[in-house]
């Protein structure tokens, strides 16, 4: 005879960070230089083990970037961050947000930090799920992803 009691809702946790996870990090993954023609770039990938077939996945991310060049007479610049379940394009877009990439002038660059939070409800017979975090800049001259990058996923029992 065996008895099992589940008290905790947090079942699994997966994460990715730069090393070191700081502004202007020396991690070889950064800097990532973006222009208006760079397109969507991959920032991070995490795979979360799953205990249950149906779950809420709490996704969160932090990204630090720097606006290098001024955009004096063009539209205000922006960065679109996306979270895909699976790979970009072939996967499912579960979340996106857009933050300002504006600023900077002849006096210097502008630093920014963006944070993301989302809950993805999934139903799958698979034992794990992969999420990817991407960025795409538009209406910019030059922006660099300089760190930090934090990307986390937590399986929460429904």
């Amino acid at each position: 005879m065996s008895l099992q009691f589940d008290f905790d809702k947090l079942r699994n946790f997966a994460y990715d960070t730069l090393k070191p996870n700081i502004s202007d990090s020396t991690d070889s993954r950064v800097p990532i230089h973006l222009t208006s023609t760079t397109g969507e770039k991959l920032l991070s990938t995490i795979t979360l083990p799953l205990e249950n077939q149906k779950a809420a996945v709490w996704l969160s991310a932090t990204i630090g970037f720097r606006v290098n060049s001024p955009v004096p007479s063009q539209p205000p610049s922006a960065m679109r961050f996306r979270i895909w379940r699976g790979q970009p394009d072939t996967g499912t877009l579960v979340y996106s947000t857009t933050d300002s990439g504006q600023g900077g002038d002849s006096f210097g660059s502008v630093s920014r930090t963006t944070n993301l939070n989302h809950i993805d409800i999934i139903k799958t017979p698979c034992k794990s799920v992969t999420y990817t975090l991407t960025v795409e800049a538009f209406d910019i001259v030059s922006i660099s992803i300089i760190g930090p990058i934090t990307f986390t996923a937590a399986e929460i029992e429904l």
Binding site: F5, F7, F13, T17, N21, T62, T113, N115
Partner: protein, 155 residues
């Protein structure tokens, strides 16, 4: 006869937090405003002590800080740093920079980090959250809110 009772699943082991009271913009908490004058060094915003129960653990850290820039045309930045162990000489486990430009401009900065703990020599670890203003020609004020959280998660 052999009975086995297994009651477990304990991923979130501890949760600690610090916040202003009230935790709002322009808070009346005596800890704010914190005035960041030009060329002033790092200032301590918050500290949390996280009990460490497992030899190998993960600490999921998150923070929100509200700031106000009265007048700063030149691009300036606020560098937020999380140190482990000591507010001045501890390990820098995380840092990020957010814009200090504007005027008058309110800004909310939020960030998360995951710190990996392995064979830590103590049963608790203290994290310190600091801020430093760089390249600002006028004062930048920390006006609240300040939230600083740490969750110990079993690996």
């Amino acid at each position: 006869m052999f009975n086995t009772f297994i009651i477990q699943f304990d991923k979130l082991i501890h949760f600690v937090f610090d916040k202003l009271n009230p935790n709002i913009s322009n808070s009346t908490d005596p800890r704010v405003p914190i005035v960041l004058a030009p060329d002033s060094g790092p200032k301590l915003l918050s500290a949390i002590e996280v009990p460490i129960e497992k030899k190998e653990s993960i600490v999921w850290l998150s923070a929100t800080i509200g700031t106000f820039v009265e007048d700063s045309i030149n691009p300036s930045r606020l560098i937020f740093t999380i140190l482990r162990g000591n507010p001045n000489t501890g390990n820098i486990v995380f840092s990020t920079a957010d814009s200090g430009q504007g005027g008058p401009t309110y800004r909310t900065s939020t960030f998360t980090h995951v710190d990996q703990i392995k064979n830590y020599p103590s049963s608790k670890v203290t994290y310190y959250l600091t801020v430093q203003a760089v390249d600002n020609s006028e004062n930048i004020n920390i006006i609240g809110p300040i939230s600083f959280n740490g969750a110990e998660i079993k690996k």
